[in-house]
Amino acid sequence: MYSKDGENYFIVDAHIALWDARPENQRNIHGKQFIDCFYDYHRNLSPESEQWTYDEYLYQGGERLMKDLFTDGYVDHAIFQPAYLGEFYHRGFGQTEEAYGLAAANPDRLTYNHCFDPRQGEAGLDQLRADHERMGFQGVKLYTAEWHGESRGYKLSDPWTYRYFEECRKLGIRNIHVHKGPTIRPLDRDAFDVSDVDHAASDFTDLNFIVEHVGLPRLEDFCWIATQEPNVHGGLAVAMPFMHSRPRYFAQIIGELIYWIGEDRIQFSSDYALWTPRWLVERFVDFQIPEDMTEYAQLTTAQKKKILGLNAAKMYGIPVPAELQIPDAAETATGPRQPERADLASAR
């Protein structure tokens, strides 16, 4: 929990990883390039005081993770969202067993989400059933730009992905986190295209689709889809640290999200270990839309509380003390929210 100015915030870090990108695990040059790219994000967007050395960045381990998140970082609960990346790393990038083991040992603090790749066909479906039997997860993280043999990506709207969603439905896996952000593949289309989320969300209305990185840099496409599909949510991974390096840009992102999808469907995350949560939580609580940006209403404390934890807690059934709960906003299920507040007209 984080407390500031007499207000208490229940914090859920909805997108974290326990990765191993050390040279002995790198399978090829792409494994090095991948972690180097993450490290550039880290260096580019973090305050100097929060920057790690390259060696620290390659691997953290469970002990360090627990410290960064829970001892230092105010986090009440965190959710693993693993990227496997088996073409880049011998034992995968996200460390399944280590993360699952850590979550199993700390069930009140950590939730383990799994991942699947629909290109593994029937064998992958069997694996998903077996993994779910053993680990009992409620959610999965899908990295649609993952390489797999000759293929460099897939879409949520592919027939095989639908087979997997049908299986998720049967198993009770309700939360589908999708990486839609800075990306690499597929090649033949706009690689950031989020329209496949639209198809899947329309056909699987009983599943939640959480678009990580809020579709950046396709914010407008994401917002338009999320406005029409009540089961589409936005994850703030990678968007959060812009509070430091580009606060006016961050203000516009959060302003747009509140306008288009509303305060109940936005989730905070540090994207650990890309960034640590401590400074992000502190800054978000202090953050405000600049006054000259009259096209957006000011952020309320209730909105910040929902984004920082209550929204993800609700989706995952994470217990929240009664005094920290906030009721849902009285907003429409679809269409823009609070147009009368978030509008140039309102500022005149």
Binding site: Q33, E220, Q252, I253
Partner: protein, 285 residues
């Protein structure tokens, strides 16, 4: 390339900062850079020269009949920048340089990208997009180009119309559907909009309505505020991504910031501190 001095009107003469015109037929570094200035990052809607994506230019004079050999190296903000964008900028660069009179051989290489080998081999063989990426490239790049051309227009339109709203606080949003090109104040934002309209084949006369989609269709009055809001989110995406990519390039390649021209769209107060040698003036001041 050095940073564009902002004493020159922004955007008005994009080549003004390059050297004086050399004698016809002589291929110099400046001539090559001038041609590269026409190559845009489709997503960011900016010349690759201003983004700092041009790592080096080398001109070797060959025999008079053979023409000069030009070797250009490009670099991008991450190894994992989308390969279709990377290919597009690299092949556009090769086309632009090949069109210079007096140029014989053109070598364009993309450095440090996860598909450098594939792309450089494809460019060397003039294999085209499909020939380069084979089974992964099912469509041509025209659709992708078209998408970003439309987005660039949307963003330019929103900048102009939001400018009007901020200048006249009594102007209702619904009225923006009636604004004509002739109502927009002259300046770089209007110039930018006219260029983007021209790329889409939209009319540029004073009587043409400003708030139109990529096909030139206007919006009914009640749909105008929502159309503006959607356009705004497009503009935010482009501005934000442009600054993210520029920042990542500077992080990845030390010193590359000096190769980047100042981008006023979406800039933050802090941006100007990093560029102390620049005096930012208003449009056409």
């Amino acid at each position: 390339m050095t940073t564009a001095p902002l004493e020159a009107p922004l955007d008005a003469h994009p080549d003004a900062h390059l050297g004086a015109e050399p004698p016809a037929g002589v291929v110099t570094d400046d001539v090559v850079r001038r041609s590269l200035h026409t190559v845009l990052d489709p997503e960011l809607d900016e010349p690759i020269t201003e983004l700092g994506f041009v790592r080096s230019v080398r001109v070797a004079r060959g025999a008079v009949d053979a023409g000069a050999t030009v070797e250009v190296h490009l670099r991008l903000p991450t190894s994992f920048c989308s390969p279709n964008f990377a290919y597009l900028m690299a092949s556009d660069s090769k086309d632009a340089i090949s069109a210079i009179p007096g140029v014989g051989t053109v070598i364009v290489e993309l450095d440090d990208h996860h598909d450098s080998g594939l792309i450089n081999a494809g460019l060397a063989a003039d294999a085209g997009y499909r020939g380069t990426f084979r089974h992964e490239a099912e469509d041509s790049l025209d659709e992708l180009r078209g998408t970003f051309r439309r987005k660039a227009h949307t963003a330019a339109m929103e900048r102009c119309l939001t400018g009007l709203l901020r200048a006249d606080r009594d102007l209702p949003e619904e009225e923006l559907g009636r604004v004509r090109l002739g109502d927009l104040p002259a300046g770089r934002e209007k110039d930018a909009l006219l260029r983007r309209r021209s790329a889409l084949g939209l009319p540029g006369d004073d009587g043409a309505p400003v708030l139109v989609d990529a096909e030139g269709r206007t919006y009914p009055e009640e749909a105008v505020p929502l159309a503006l809001r959607r356009a705004r989110s497009t503009r935010i995406s482009i501005d934000g991504n442009a600054h993210f990519c520029r920042g990542l390039l500077r992080t990845r390649y030390e010193g590359s910031g000096t190769d980047q021209a100042f981008r006023p769209e979406g800039s933050e107060p802090a941006d100007q501190h990093g560029l102390l040698n620049l005096t930012v003036k208003g449009p056409h001041s």
